[in-house]
């Protein structure tokens, strides 16, 4: 599964995208798995209230299932316009 990071999430994780092998059932499970893996993920995901998630380019909740999902993205609240 491709995992993408944008804005300060990207800066804290240290890369814009990566391929991740995971059996995580939900977005929250994936966040926990990555945070346990390395400190930089734990830092990026330390306040999940400040993180938005998109699954295959549609906004989703933290408890959304990852079954069949090809692209997960993590980013801060949007500030366009």
């Amino acid at each position: 599964m491709d995992v993408l990071y944008f804005a300060w999430v990207r800066e804290r994780v240290g890369l814009p995208r990566e391929a991740v092998e995971t059996e995580a059932a939900t977005v929250a499970d994936l966040v926990a798995e990555l945070s346990a893996r390395e400190e930089r993920y734990a830092v990026a995901f330390s306040d999940m209230a400040a993180i938005r998630v998109a699954l295959d380019q549609e906004l989703a909740d933290l408890d959304a299932p990852l079954q069949g999902v090809r692209e997960v993205a993590f980013f801060p609240p949007m500030t366009g316009g």
Binding site: L4, F6, A7, W8, A54, Q57, E58, L59, A73, F75, P76, P77, M78, T79, G80, G81
Partner: protein, 149 residues
């Protein structure tokens, strides 16, 4: 209907002229454009970097535009949003809406802006002095969406 996501600047007047060219069925045309200001929270801004999520951006803007067309009888609409480096005074984005009457055109333009602000994947980073700072989302932007529910 149309959505453009681009690094290049756009010509607001030419876009508005194209929207109504050859048409005699439009009564009201509203445009909004967002510009880079030279200060933020009292501090001078030397520029801005606009990051976006290619692919999702176009999809999100098209969904927001389609939703506006289900809510108001619009004859035409347009959304242009730039990304990349921008300087103070530069155009960031524009929306335009055309309808028979002013209320629909105004409301649809405000709807597009409110949803675009909080639902389209763009992030602004302002350059301040030697540093740079990600712009925080404003609570009032999220609250603005409640008007349309």
């Amino acid at each position: 209907m149309g959505v453009k996501v681009q690094a290049e600047d756009f010509d607001l007047g030419a876009e508005l002229a194209a929207l109504r060219a050859g048409r005699t069925d439009i009564g009201a045309l509203v445009s909004f454009s967002g510009l880079v200001r030279d200060t933020a929270g009292g501090q001078p801004i030397s520029g801005m970097e606009l990051e976006h999520y290619p692919g999702m951006t176009e999809k999100a803007l098209s969904q927001i535009e389609a939703e506006a067309h289900t809510r108001w009888p619009l004859q035409a609409s347009l959304i242009i949003h730039r990304y990349g480096p921008l300087a103070p005074g530069d155009q960031i984005m524009m929306v335009a809406t055309a309808s028979l009457h002013r209320a629909a055109a105004f409301e649809a333009a405000e709807f597009l802006m409110d949803y675009l602000k909080s639902r389209a994947p763009f992030w602004k980073k302002e350059a301040i002095g030697a540093g740079a700072r990600w712009v925080d989302a404003r609570d009032t932007d999220e609250e603005a969406l409640s008007r349309w529910r």
